[in-house]
């Protein structure tokens, strides 16, 4: 494994972690709202949120370019207002990884929130809890297992994203070349030992993440 591969691995971990934080920050309130306060049009929000799960990653990447590219409306706005250029930048890789991993977290979180017995939440309200306290003291702890599973699935998906990342951020060594892209390069160049090392690292991280999510939280955990 070369120094460049180590950089790609650390870049992958940083991108996957950033994307997961972004996904959890955006996905948690949406999933909670749809699970707990059904509204007309919720189905459309669910459909849009889960679309990246069924679209080819390159299509997701292309759509992101259409929205966040330097000549696209949002892309121009971000560049003019904040000097932020996502294309061929690691932040673009974070965006691509976040969008492709979003459905996995969103579906798990929505299901976890929906599975929390409304009775516990109402009982807590009757005992003086505000909506905020009900969320932190009831809904969140009672759905934590499903949320953790969603976080891990999202993280692993973000770690392994290839197509959308390549479309939005490119494959620039040291800047946007993630471990998945480095593996592709190693395979194309016929460097089997390098490729196997990268496969081992990516596989080990994924297995460790799945093991972590499957651990019992406590005897009383759900």
């Amino acid at each position: 494994m070369t120094a460049e591969d180590l950089t790609a691995i650390s870049l992958s971990l940083a991108i996957a972690l950033s994307a997961t934080i972004l996904v959890v920050s955006v996905g948690t309130p949406i999933a909670w709202y749809i699970a707990k306060k059904p509204f007309r049009g919720a189905g459309l929000v669910v459909a849009i949120s889960t679309l990246p799960l069924v679209l080819p990653p390159t299509v997701t990447g292309y759509l992101l370019l259409e929205i966040f590219g330097r000549r696209a409306l949002v892309g121009q706005f971000l560049e003019q207002q904040f000097g932020l250029v996502l294309v061929f930048h690691w932040s673009g890789a974070v965006l691509a990884a976040a969008v492709t991993s979003f459905p996995l977290y969103f579906v798990s979180a929505r299901s976890a929130f929906a599975s929390v017995d409304f009775g516990y939440e109402q009982a807590a309200r009757l005992m003086g809890c505000s909506e905020w306290t009900v969320f932190w003291r009831m809904t969140l702890p009672l759905s934590i297992r499903g949320l953790l599973a969603g976080i891990v699935l999202g993280f692993v998906r973000a770690l392994g994203d290839f197509g959308a990342t390549l479309m939005v951020a490119g494959n620039i060594p040291g800047r946007t070349r993630t471990a998945a892209l480095a593996l592709y390069d190693a395979t194309i160049l016929g460097e089997a030992a390098r490729a196997r090392s990268l496969v081992a690292v990516l596989g080990a991280v994924a297995v460790a993440a799945i093991w972590f999510a499957g651990r019992p939280i406590s005897k009383g955990g759900r």
Binding site: G119, A123, L126, M127, G128, M138, K219, G220, G221, R222
Partner: protein, 228 residues
């Protein structure tokens, strides 16, 4: 008796279009009212409507003041109603131990006079849960869960306590003792109680007034001897 009328006068009106249209009045001198009726009569629904658990156009007043509306006429959130509830399926929080469950309401209840630690100790002692406090919820028997449920509800110092078959899982001997403790505790704390039960002995022992419900309608009310 005028003073008693002021303390206990309570009124509960509610309707669910097509199902319920009831106007229940707690008799002024009765602190415990039993709610009876066959399965499916709507007893639990009535309790949930009174608590504000279910949305409706209910009117709930106690001690001459509305429990469901604040002074500006807006619907009060559940946490501000001063209503406690003991649930048929106990609804003890599974991720908290017994002590945390029992003290939950003390921590969060919006009460001008939260329960003092010594009173809480006495409450736990009276309801026989002292030896359970360190336990996890899933290690409790059905009867123990109901004892903890009662302590949790009473620790909030509600004005109105709604009990849905609160001792149905407790053995016969324990049930008598528990109901006696419930009666003396609610009397001491001036808590008005509405209790769903199927047990005629419990009704005669506890209640001063009985509402008999069937298919969502009040078909009889009066003293236990006249209704049961």
């Amino acid at each position: 008796m005028a003073q008693q009328v002021h303390v206990f006068q309570s009124k509960v009106c509610y309707s669910i279009p097509g199902r319920f249209k009831l106007d229940l009045e707690l008799k002024s001198n009765q602190r415990v009212t039993a709610l009876i009726g066959p399965s499916g009569a709507g007893k639990t629904t009535v309790l949930k409507l009174i608590a504000g658990w279910l949305e409706s156009n209910s009117t709930v007043a106690l001690n001459g003041s509305r429990l469901d509306l604040n002074q500006s006429g807006k619907v009060k959130p559940l946490r501000d109603r001063g209503v406690g509830m003991v649930f048929q399926d106990d609804l003890l929080f599974p991720h908290l131990d017994v002590l945390a469950n029992a003290q939950f309401a003390i921590k969060y209840a919006r009460h001008e006079r939260p329960m003092e630690p010594s009173v809480f100790d006495s409450l736990c002692h009276n309801f026989g849960v002292v030896h359970l406090l360190e336990r996890k919820i899933f290690n409790l028997s059905g009867g123990e869960r109901q004892r903890v449920g009662l302590v949790r509800a009473l620790a909030a110092r509600p004005k109105l306590l709604l009990c849905d078959e609160p001792v149905s899982a407790v053995d016969r001997a324990g049930r008598t003792e528990l109901l006696a403790n419930l009666q003396s505790w609610t009397e001491r704390e001036q808590i008005v109680v509405i209790m769903v039960t199927h047990d005629h002995d419990e009704i005669r022992r506890m209640a001063g007034h009985v509402w008999h419900l069937d298919a969502g309608q009040l078909i009889a009310e009066g003293s236990p001897d006249s209704v049961v």
